[in-house]
Symmetry: C2
Subunit: 436 residues, 2 copies
Amino acid sequence: MSDRRALLPDWVVPVCPENVVLDNHAVIVAGERIEAILPADQLEQKAPDVPIQRLAGCALIPGLINVHAHSAMALMRGLADDLPLMRWLEDHIWPAEQRWVGTEFVRDGSELAMAEMLAGGTTCFNDSYFFPDVTAATAAQVGMRAVVGLPVISLPTAWASTEDEYFSRGLEVHQALLSEPLVSTAFAPHAPYTVSDQAFERIRELAEEMDVPVHLHLLEAAGEIEGSKQRYGKHPLDRLDALGLLNNRLIAVHMTQLSESDMDRVARHGIHVAHCPASNLKLASGLCPVAGLDRRGVNVGIGTDGAASNNTLDMFAEMRLAALLAKGVSGDPEALPAARALSMATINPARALQLDDRVGSIEVGKQADLVAVRLDRLETWPVHHVLSQLVYACSRHQVETVWVAGQTVFDQGRLTHLDIDQLRAKAQEWQRRLKH
Amino acid sequence: MSDRRALLPDWVVPVCPENVVLDNHAVIVAGERIEAILPADQLEQKAPDVPIQRLAGCALIPGLINVHAHSAMALMRGLADDLPLMRWLEDHIWPAEQRWVGTEFVRDGSELAMAEMLAGGTTCFNDSYFFPDVTAATAAQVGMRAVVGLPVISLPTAWASTEDEYFSRGLEVHQALLSEPLVSTAFAPHAPYTVSDQAFERIRELAEEMDVPVHLHLLEAAGEIEGSKQRYGKHPLDRLDALGLLNNRLIAVHMTQLSESDMDRVARHGIHVAHCPASNLKLASGLCPVAGLDRRGVNVGIGTDGAASNNTLDMFAEMRLAALLAKGVSGDPEALPAARALSMATINPARALQLDDRVGSIEVGKQADLVAVRLDRLETWPVHHVLSQLVYACSRHQVETVWVAGQTVFDQGRLTHLDIDQLRAKAQEWQRRLKH
């Protein structure tokens, strides 16, 4: 059968179970799925006709999943840095968005972002931006898995003018994507301070009906709590609780302002946390207490945020930063060990996105979203421990081959579904436009 | 004249003055020195016979300087992680060192480290390890600039048995290196808790006489202060002050336990601080208040520490981490802007090492320690701001060509003075040995 092949790396890191490295094992891929994982010496007997793809010096890991992105903002990478949040937004990002955001911007920006993510071993991302239909179409075209957010915000934008219109356009996008195998949707209300009670209630109802996650910036910076108390007489968590939003559909992004009892509450309600360490540091928003959340069993995933506040979409860098920062912030060098950090970049985001039956680990029956990482490189010699090298020493430039649903999307420096020269030309054109 | 060439990148980032990017400029290198920096359109007239090396899509920056390394420990990269400092040292690092450290370990380990550093745009490093003669010889051989520490520690090691022997062996190394153009020395007393008053006094005298820096781990973790008070009745800074060590020869490494008045004191004495953000986070040692030191005019340089606690020797990653962490820790998003972070990886370490008359910036008369960084890559499109891309988005894998003293040491993936297959074989051999 022509669609079956055995991938034979030096090591398989299945992620589930956590902290396991299989030496001399092969992963058999049949079409879009993982059919078997077996010791290499059983290949001849159990899969005699299956062609073998040797991945010498490589570890095979599940595709990384970026649990919080604004992919189109790749075009604004480094447009403005080293500024306080509000000056950054009001003087730079928002004016640029107001002038330029539309289908062309979103298509070119999300294409650039997907190129960067795929080349760096990220096979799936959870997006929050305008024109999710365009992002979805681009993802389908380049063969990348995505969850596109249906934006809701009480401000008019090029995408929609009223809350009602955000809902109607969002529902249309959702409907149109029901048959798309790689792309699904989530509600993406912007933040408590930009979404009305009515809209939140509608999101709660619809999310349940449609069975989709709710992707929300929450407790990103200190001012948010005071603002909510003044406007609603309540802490944002109390307000969302009263509106029925605190449940296991919620992907709460940032969460840098958590008390111990807030953490208990997050755990009790099964809320997923999207941790964006680089962005939180860069904007000096605050620090997410990842070690404390992890200790309570909260499902924490790692995300890059947009390239305008990171300034990369590099999940290897983000994973390393998360692991280092958790130790430094908690004062506990045993916090967030390598294996857990890898889970937070794979199976945990899959759980938050309700995709863990399909991706996030190398398990029989799951989709073949896989990454071969070359550890046989100067930067990761010697390989005393595979997981340690993957998290603490490896960079995305050691990614050798990437598959999404069994399809090769990146191989030895080449993106198979994208034209790099065209990407460059578009980026240069946007560089020129955004200057003015 | 055959040893002159004009390097013509898209951008020259001289570092001195800070925050400057020169478009369309050429750097003329004559032998080991920078002879001129001039607008590209004056090349024909002012340097008509000089061959031009076009570096399209590249920024030319000064070679990065790693102000704190234990290079030979590259062989212990990832040997043990996610452990408290003392268990990490006592159960893993020290036993391995006791068994294996000698000339072969130091040669192979520092060679691997230098390969990694050069390929990543680091042209000079400040080392603290045993057998500095071996590290020095290796640096000279691979054409890398280095300052090797003359170790002093009140414990017997394979290098020396008594404090006296540390001094006599160290002085021999210093003497032997006086005529070596690329390598110089510093005293490298291990830490206040492992060096006697007598040894510190001798270091102060000799360092002045020999005109070399003093490279010391200082205030790395909280326990150090209490320990010093119990043993010496003094805070480590008071003890070192009384011994005459607090002056502008001192490179104080880590400095994670600083009060506001300690910072004033550091500034007053002109002490240089070596900031190692990844290592401090990973071992949960504490946080160096870089923004506060920088505000006081303290000369702060960035270092990787050893690969056993980082686990890379990646100055691009370290620079980015320093810039991000300074904002997060200080709560000020304007702290450590990109240009300052780049200074902390170039001219500031040069100052600490007393090498700023020779390296650390692209200035006429300085040594041609240069790095061409390809910004024309997916990961750094679009290039709205060169400095931002270099610090926040760029990775060491975008390094295209590296020169030390005018010699090409790395070019398009190839280390010109090192045999990569031999490096691999040695790393694999040490992987096997260190397992037991």
